[in-house]
Symmetry: none
Subunit: 231 residues, 2 copies
DNA sequence: TTAATTGTTCTCTCATTGTTCACAGGCAGA
DNA sequence: TCTGCCTGTGAACAATGAGAGAACAATTAA
């Protein structure tokens, strides 16, 4: 799950937090890992974040938080050892013991409009904000889209749902992404790579997968959460 | 998670609360941190609030509350016992005061456990709290359940989703409800009345609708919203 | 009502910290 | 070999953290 360096950094952060309660700065992490540039640290931090081991507030100094321990925990298993693998993310929601569930663990993310409406989402910037429990998101930058259409019904994504999207340019096979097609149309689909080609696969037998060249598709984010309202 | 100053201030507030039970004023915190202006304190307080370590009532003097301890806890367990988690949220809701719900439109609702697990949900009272955007809920009392199983997949409700339930005894035909069957088992299903009988209809062709007598079923709430998290 | 206490904001200023880029080497698998 | 991934470096740049001082607003006590 982790590379040697990522693991080393995670350990360091953990020790620091337990000893002093103060997050290390990038500079300090740089020293600890014996690097000569902070950008390396930056990449490691991003990797740890992406894998769900830490959480952070963007653009805030010393704002790291450990969500999960590496598998081989040798030093201090006690408190967290009981957490079954895979459930870690949700553990944050369920464990009142360790985290008393802060009342304002809420993030406001911008609501950019409807998706699958044939308009690049960037065009609809800066409308209303949607408050979302931080536990639903990882960290990183997020935004929300209202889902339009039924092309993802079989993935449990219905017309009118709010999709919470984490902004990213990269995605792995099988993930649900917001893809901008030929700079024109944004859609929410499963992503599949087929050699150099990219396939956008709907979750609805009534629709066909579409195949595009690598230059025709731009990933704008991946699905991180979903909100639905019943009336 | 914290910078040196933030940590120092949090410690100070904590000690003060434990010793005297009275929140320090900005002036006192200013002195304690050896500052010459209160605005610095203000910024630190905001940072602590943003990170979920403290909570405060806006425009109220000496209204600080510690929600979370820094990792390196050296002196603590006392403070914790005095402030049961969750209590604060309810207090905030009940106070007919000027500030019904501090600033944001977020409501904390209790997470009662998993549904369709064969256990009456009432038995699982008082676990953790889940912050939810108020916009997702209507009025009334709500709680959350984690969905277990795939009996409602065709309604876009997947295993592991969080169902937001509005507590009510009544429901109309065709609504999705939490139904307690024979006082034993709680399930999430479509409700249909058939004369005096009540039918619970799953949204999955692999399952059969179940028919019960009016005395066998107790409606505990209706589905008001849904949260899902992708990893 | 007045006065005292306390919290909120603003503007400046400087230091600290985080972000991003371009460029490059090493390594494993196709 | 080519490609993708991890790693390393350096530097420019952007943003936040922190402190001061003052005016102002809100709440509480007299």
């Amino acid at each position: 799950m982790l590379t040697r360096k990522q693991h080393e950094l995670l350990k360091f952060i953990q020790v620091r937090l337990e000893e002093s309660g103060i997050s290390p700065s990038f500079e300090e992490m740089k020293e600890a890992l014996d690097l000569k540039s902070k950008s390396g640290v930056h990449r490691l931090i991003s990797a740890l974040e992406e894998r769900g081991f830490i959480r952070r507030l963007p653009n805030r100094a010393r704002a790291l938080e450990i969500l999960r321990q590496p598998e081989d925990v040798t030093s201090k298993p006690a408190a967290k050892a009981a957490v079954p693998a895979g459930q870690d993310a949700l553990a944050a929601l369920k464990q009142p013991e360790r985290t008393p569930e802060p009342a304002n663990d809420v993030i406001e993310i911008p609501l950019h409009g409807r998706i699958a409406a044939g308009v690049p989402i960037e065009a609809l910037e800066g409308q209303s904000m949607l408050p979302v429990p931080a536990a639903l998101l990882g960290s990183g930058e997020h935004y929300a889209l209202e889902v339009s259409g039924d092309s993802m019904v079989e993935a449990g994504i219905l017309d009118g749902d709010f999709a919470l999207i984490r902004r990213t340019n990269t995605a792995r096979d099988g993930e649900i992404v917001v893809a901008l097609v030929r700079g024109e149309e944004a859609t929410l689909k499963y992503l599949q790579r087929d050699g150099a080609m990219v396939r956008l696969v709907p979750a609805n037998a009534a629709y066909e997968p579409q195949v595009y060249g690598p230059d025709e598709i731009e990933v704008q984010g991946k699905l991180a959460g979903l909100l639905r309202r019943y009336h």
